[in-house]
């Protein structure tokens, strides 16, 4: 139970929308969302296919707890092969779209083929049809959202959409839902646009009622809500400051990647921090932050609702940006700020608005701009390329200009669409790209937090903090404190986080709950909602099975152990300041042990025993 047991298969080449039963054998092995959809993807596509070709498929998937009252139980993921990395992509989003899809009676939608003309999928409960979207092509996510709500005369409809960046082939485009929530990473929006699918609109009124044991479920849900409320991170820090609670903390510990990771501390961090977002500004006495907002069912509510100073250069002549919208989260503030050396909070907020408006992953966008800035300072990129813009570190005007160019795919924006790796390769300096498997780093420097080095190197979707957030242990002491500068024990720590996170994602919950929850808090909720027995041990096993399956896909796609590495800068150039001064990331100390713990050979291949243990498809 808890699954609707029904999936929708949309063939964009044929224009068909056909329901089919959920494969419950797979649901029992892979739970839902990330895991279950990956199982479908592995079954249905050639791992070596062109990510932007008609042969790739794209799955929007909910979990068994999506649409329930379980705190944060509103999440969905977009699963596909990534055009940025060539690896499996799974990008997770909050907001309200995922719960609406579940309320309409669908566990997931599988999109296959490619439409000849732009279309959008419109779902009202069991009715699903493809509608023409030619008039929407060329519109931003925000314009499209507004146009679709007006067309269907239904303010309660939820919309997921791709922006102009995706239409123009930007390799890190996101799927945006509910205006400012994003399935952000790995270019899942680029895949959606490549299929000529502009948007998915959903109205669901059927509800989620098939809970195995409703009374026990509500007891577990209420116990879980209490744990979140009483925890200092989920009950106080995140509601008050959002994920931006981390900006000053991570800078202090010397793990703040700065100026394309040349340094590990940013002198401007306090100006772009969560605390700075609360400071009244000179012009109108208002703070950047208006209030916090929650995603569906979330009792943490870390989301930021912000405004830009109307006097700021970026919006002074643009009243359309004077209202509230999704504000800076830590990753965005880091990528748009510290990594580019820009300490102008309003410029960052403006760039963030544009990332939402036209569907760019702010991490990859910011990190790509940072790489371009280094190329500019090295004299490889010049004002000839940038229409005269001084693309230097710390130039707030240049950052805003770059966001506008990338949003619409004009001018130098086309080069920035390539992402950091391809951009640096194009200009002959591949070593300046701060990426793993072609995906840009997030906001933790692995010289200052060693476990994150192994996290990035082994992440199945390329550099990513959300695959094993060992920052939790190494900095915040959750569930127990480990030394961020030591490598000992980190292989086991990373593996444990990877497996648990895969299970949390697959349930339809938000990984931020795990600042307070362990699997002992989560398993009772899944166990009461779903048929079968769901112990913490079973969730760990499911999580590891998912990890192995993703790895297996990547190996079949052509990735090798050589891709489980970090840029030389992090392995050779020591941190220049802070607690990690003199340190590099000692990846080599951790990786062999990690392979061993995973049941892989020394060259990163799954052994026959491992395949058999987890029942992986051949």
């Amino acid at each position: 139970m808890a699954w609707t047991r029904q999936i929708l298969r949309v063939n964009l080449s044929e224009g068909s929308c056909i329901p089919e039963p959920l494969n419950m054998d797979w649901a029992n092995q892979y739970l839902g969302q990330r895991g279950l959809a990956t199982r479908y993807l592995v079954e249905e596509i050639d791992p070596q296919c062109d990510a932007l070709g008609a042969d790739n498929k794209m799955i929007m998937a909910t979990g068994p707890l999506t649409g329930t009252m379980a705190s944060t139980g509103g999440r969905y993921s977009v699963i596909t092969k990534s055009p940025l990395t060539g690896a499996v992509a799974c990008s997770n989003s909050g907001g309200f779209f995922g719960a609406e899809l579940k309320n309409a009676g669908w566990d997931m939608i599988i999109f296959e083929g490619k439409s000849a003309e732009p279309v959008y999928l419109h779902i009202e409960n069991d009715s699903a049809r493809l509608m023409p979207a030619t008039d929407l092509w060329g519109k931003s996510c925000w314009e499209t959202d507004e146009a679709l709500h007006a067309r269907h005369q239904d303010p309660q409809m939820r919309v997921a959409v791709v922006g102009r960046s995706a239409e123009k082939g930007c390799l890190y485009s996101a799927v945006i839902n509910d205006l400012h929530r994003a399935a952000g990473r790995s270019g899942v929006g680029t895949v959606m646009a490549s299929k000529n699918l502009k948007a998915v609109t959903v109205r669901g009124t059927l509800g989620v009622g098939n809970i195995q044991d409703p009374a026990r479920f509500m007891n577990a849900v209420n116990a879980g809500k209490k744990v979140l409320a009483e925890n200092p991170v989920t009950g106080e820090g995140l509601p008050a400051l959002g994920t931006q609670v981390l900006m000053n903390v991570i800078n202090e510990v010397g793990a703040m990647p700065t100026r394309n990771m040349r340094e590990t501390q940013f002198e401007g961090a306090s100006k772009i921090s969560g605390e700075a977002m609360l400071e009244p500004r000179a012009s109108d006495g208002k703070a950047n932050l208006t209030r916090n907002g929650g995603c569906f069912a979330c009792t943490i509510a870390c989301g930021r609702i912000s405004t830009i100073d109307r006097e700021h250069f970026s919006v002074k002549e643009k009243p359309q940006y004077w209202g509230n919208s999704g504000g800076l989260e830590y990753e965005a503030a880091w990528a748009l700020g510290s990594d580019t050396g820009v300490d102008d909070l309003d410029a960052l907020t403006y760039a963030n608005f544009l990332c939402n408006e036209d569907g760019m992953d702010p991490i990859s966008f910011g990190a790509t701009v940072a790489a371009a800035m280094e190329l500019f300072e090295e004299g490889v990129i010049t004002t000839q390329h940038t229409d005269g813009v001084e693309l230097k570190f710390g130039n707030a005007q240049a950052l805003c200009w770059a966001a506008e160019q990338v949003a619409t795919g004009t001018g130098f924006g086309a080069d920035l669409h390539l992402g950091s790796r391809r951009l640096c390769e194009k200009y002959g300096r591949p070593e300046l790209s701060m990426t793993v498997k072609g995906q840009e780093f997030p906001a933790y420097d692995p010289r200052g937090i060693q476990g994150m080095g192994l996290t990035y190197a082994t992440s199945n979707r390329g550099a990513c903090h959300l695959r094993s957030y060992t920052v939790s242990s190494e900095i915040l002491g959750v569930p127990e404190k480990t030394d961020p500068l030591q490598t000992e024990g980190k292989a086991g720590l990373v593996k444990a986080f990877q497996d648990a996170t895969a299970a949390v994602d697959s349930a339809g919950l938000c990984v931020f709950t795990t600042f307070a929850w362990t699997l002992d808090d989560i398993a009772p909720q899944i166990d009461a909602a779903c048929d079968g027995e769901w112990s913490p041990e079973r969730l760990v096993e499911v999580g590891e099975r998912i990890w192995q399956l993703e790895r297996d896909f990547n190996l079949k796609a052509g990735l090798t152990a050589a891709d489980d590495t970090l840029p030389q800068r992090l392995l050779k150039d020591a941190a220049k300041s802070g607690p990690a001064k003199g340190k590099v990331c000692e990846l080599g100390d951790m990786l062999p042990e990690y392979y061993q713990l995973r049941g892989w050979t020394a060259d990163g291949q799954l052994t026959a025993e491992t395949r058999s243990k987890f029942g992986l498809p051949s």
Binding site: M69, S71, G207, V208, G209, I211, C298
Partner: protein, 159 residues
């Protein structure tokens, strides 16, 4: 003591826990579409506002009903729909100035908040106390306390 739902939009994060608690209590499913309390998002203004029936004393819906299917609950003060009497004419939905009585096409009856018989689940589910269930004679107490806190004691003592 008569109690009343008290809504403070300033505390609402828009998470919809209230809507799900309402639909679970009344319809047996998690289904925000069937909730009798609704949270409205004013995106550009950055505001979330929960809204439901205020249980008017001289309830327009109750007076308008031609078959006396909306009755006063003497214990809670709520105006309850008697489903077995309701004929689905929807006159009450027109009479209500606030829009908080609505027709349910699945059942052919109207639905509105009945304070869950005195234990409103929306209030229990709200994680931020944006919805509370308090003394009906003192719903202004929180606001009074906030203003009281700003009172300058020094002025009255002449210090």
């Amino acid at each position: 003591m008569l109690k009343s739902l008290n809504i403070d939009p300033g505390k609402c994060t828009g998470c919809l826990q209230c809507e799900m608690a309402c639909s679970l209590e009344n319809e047996g499913v998690f289904n925000t579409a069937k909730s009798r309390i609704k949270v409205f998002t004013f995106h550009e203004e950055g505001r979330f506002v929960p809204y439901t029936c205020t249980q008017c004393d001289e309830a327009w819906c109750m007076h308008a009903c031609p078959v006396d299917a909306i009755v006063l609950n003497p214990v809670t003060g709520s105006k309850d729909v008697k489903s077995d009497l309701c004929v689905g004419c929807k006159v009450c939905t027109i009479a209500c100035p606030f829009g908080t009585v609505n027709y349910n096409a699945d059942s052919g009856k109207v639905v509105k908040c009945d304070l869950c018989g005195g234990d409103p689940q929306c209030a229990s589910a709200c994680p931020t106390d944006a919805i509370t269930y308090v003394d009906a004679n003192a719903t202004g107490l929180d606001k009074m306390r906030q203003w009281a806190g700003k009172t300058d004691n020094a002025a009255s003592t002449g210090a």
